[in-house]
């Protein structure tokens, strides 16, 4: 597998030199970073080049890197100082320094039986924009609508960019990290008005289990294969 694998990597790097950047990944995966401006051009080459032939766009997923690498409650020094309280959200300065939103694309080549993952960061954190891939793969249509709905990533040139999973008239983008898990509004039946109404949500959000980031030496790459 590995010889075959390095061959694919070298083919991609030869064909798209300077436009894609290999990112660290598991040994069994192949993934690249693409600049948002190059996305459509790179995708077209990946689909059409005879040695690559990624005919299927399997998946598009938005990611919000706002809280990446941050614990909710600090526990590392808890024995001496006690647990930190709650989540400190909203400010920048997380462990991830870079653009906040990204699109993750999973490609599949039926001809060559290969998989590939692409990541494109949106340059603007306020108005995240990516170019649409609907012209390259028709399956991008709904996947991009989903990323728009849940993360607010706008896909330039998309033929039909509407919300898809959330309610009609929904406000906000629920999968962003600063959107509360319980949401902002809830619906109930109003007996006086004799219809369903939206009211501010009443339950308070609570986290039962803190997000803890631990360095587990047993999974360190240099120790793999020992023990």
């Amino acid at each position: 597998m590995s010889a075959h694998f390095t061959q694919l990597a070298s083919r991609i790097e030869a064909e798209l030199a300077g436009r894609v950047q290999r990112r660290p990944s598991l040994p069994c995966d192949l993934s690249y970073d693409v600049a948002a401006a190059d996305l459509v051009a790179v995708a077209t080459v990946l689909r059409d080049h005879a040695d690559l032939r990624f005919e299927l766009l399997i998946d598009v997923a938005g990611v919000d890197y706002m809280d990446y690498g941050r614990s909710e409650w600090r526990t590392q020094s808890a024995t001496s100082s006690g647990f930190g309280r709650g989540v400190n959200r909203g400010g920048s300065g997380g462990a991830h320094d870079g653009p906040r939103f990204a699109g993750l694309y999973q490609l599949l080549s039926v001809t060559h039986n290969e998989r590939l993952s692409l990541r494109a960061f949106c340059t603007d954190n306020q108005d995240p924009v990516l170019d649409t891939l609907t012209g390259v793969w028709a399956s991008a249509n709904w996947f991009e609508r989903e990323a728009f709905d849940l993360f607010g990533i706008v896909f330039n040139g998309h033929p039909d960019l509407r919300r898809i999973l959330t309610d009609y008239g929904f406000i906000g983008h629920p999968f962003r990290k600063d959107f509360p898990l319980v949401g902002n509004v809830e619906v109930k039946y109003d007996a006086e008005k004799q219809r369903v109404v939206y009211v501010p949500v009443e339950i308070t959000e609570r986290t039962l289990v803190p997000r803890v980031i631990r360095d587990d030496v047993r999974y360190a790459p240099e120790l793999k294969g020992r023990s």
Partner: protein, 417 residues
């Protein structure tokens, strides 16, 4: 001259043939569909967001509830993604159990699909036949996990427990005579493997029964042949996987092409369609049931001969044994930490996919080294298939919409997530 406009018809969300909560806005010219616009999301529960707020091992149960007719296959993709990041090796016996249950799940799913699809386009009796066999397979689920549907049986590092030596049995009651109970319990008197073996022996005959009802049935063919035709090129463009792409004539099956677990050692064939219409996809799925039956049989034979552990011996990802916990303080602490904080998964990003009954079910997992996933995304086959619905029904009659929804095998648990 009077102005002639197309008629807009609202199909669903509460329509029995919509297979759940699909709302279709159809623009019709007489009885011909000019445009279709599926509205989904009525069953959106935010599974992926919920999973980001829970330790890794507490989200396995959510996976069952995505595609709620092929439960264990969803768990499988999620557990595989975790194992890839953790770098855990699953014991061989657990791999065989997983393959066996994946195939049982495939039969379970295809039986529901066949029954419901038949019902949609006018073949009532198939439904009853299919549910007869589903009952037995649900019993297999129950024997191994205690629940008939939402099993939470696969765990990172293996499966929850080994196959039981006894099967649950029926008891006589006011509604069930002793004679009936004896007949039902006859195959349930041995171990689970005996029961499954007995099932695999009689199941091909059952498939013959369904085929007698449908395959050469004139009405069935009138409703399915040349309906919803998709060319192979178009199928790839639209992101089809599973029986949908195979129905269009592309021999793509992850179990053969990118084998996971022990599929590489299994002897089975992939059925492929020719015309890419609803009838071909029906034939593909029926043949898949027969092939799954073969795989289950091979697994049963192997599992009988080879006892062994069913869970990787990695204390980080498996809970301590009950008897250890009773006498050992450290194990008790371990148990507490395991079920409260969970375990941390090393930083990384991966995509793991399985050949679920409906197509490729994949899980994209981004971890930043915490005890909860940073981002979880489920790639549902039904989502890609449903997005092609407008294209597939355009120019067909209203009644054919039902046939196309049926042939796509849509389940809204996974489409809306």
């Amino acid at each position: 001259m009077a102005e002639i406009r197309n008629f807009t018809l609202n199909f669903g969300p509460q329509h029995p043939a919509a297979h759940g909560v699909l709302r279709l806005v159809l623009e019709m010219d007489g009885e011909t569909i000019m445009k279709a616009d599926p509205h989904v999301g009525l069953l959106h529960r935010g599974t992926e967001k919920l999973a980001e707020h829970k330790p890794f091992n507490q989200s396995i149960g959510y996976m069952d509830r995505l595609d709620y007719v092929s439960m264990m296959c969803n768990e499988h993709a999620y557990v595989m993604a975790m194992e890839k990041l953790l770098g855990v090796q699953v014991p061989l016996r657990a791999q065989y159990i997983r393959v066996m249950y994946d195939e049982i799940t495939r039969i379970l799913n295809h039986l529901l699909w066949l029954g419901a699809h038949g019902l949609d386009i006018g073949a009532m009796s198939v439904f009853l036949f299919c549910f007869r066999e589903r009952e037995d397979l649900m019993d297999c689920y129950e024997a191994v996990s205690g629940t008939r549907m939402h099993a939470t049986y696969y765990r990172p590092g293996g499966v929850y427990r080994d196959l039981p030596e006894t099967m649950p049995r029926y008891q006589a009651s006011r509604w069930r005579s002793q004679k009936d109970v004896d007949r039902l319990n006859e195959s349930r008197s041995g171990s689970l493997l005996d029961f499954i073996e007995d099932f695999t022996a009689r199941f091909p005959g059952c498939v013959d029964e369904y085929e007698t009802l449908l395959t050469d049935n004139r009405i069935w063919k009138q409703r399915t042949v040349n309906i919803g035709v998709v060319t192979p090129e178009r199928a790839m463009q639209l992101g089809f996987t599973g029986p949908m792409i195979r129905g269009s004539g592309i021999a793509w099956d992850l179990r053969k092409k990118q084998p996971y677990e022990v599929y590489a050692d299994m002897d089975f064939d992939i059925p492929v369609g020719v015309n890419g219409d609803c009838y071909d996809r029906y034939l593909v799925r029926v043949e898949e049931m027969r092939q799954s039956n073969r795989i289950v049989r091979q697994c049963v034979d192997w599992l009988r001969k080879n006892p062994g552990p069913v869970m990787a011996d990695d204390r980080k990802i498996r809970q301590p044994r009950r008897e250890e916990m009773k006498g050992d303080m450290e194990s008790l602490i371990h148990h507490f930490k395991y079920f409260t904080e969970g375990f941390s998964v090393p930083e990384g990003e991966t995509y793991a996919a399985v050949e679920a009954p409906k197509g490729e079910f994949g899980v994209l997992l981004v971890s930043d080294g915490a005890n909860k996933p940073y981002r979880l995304h489920c790639r549902a086959p039904g989502f890609a298939h449903l997005s092609a619905l407008p294209e597939m029904v355009e120019g067909h009659m209203l009644a054919d919409v039902v046939a196309v929804i049926g042939t796509q095998d849509i389940v809204f648990g996974e489409v809306d997530r």
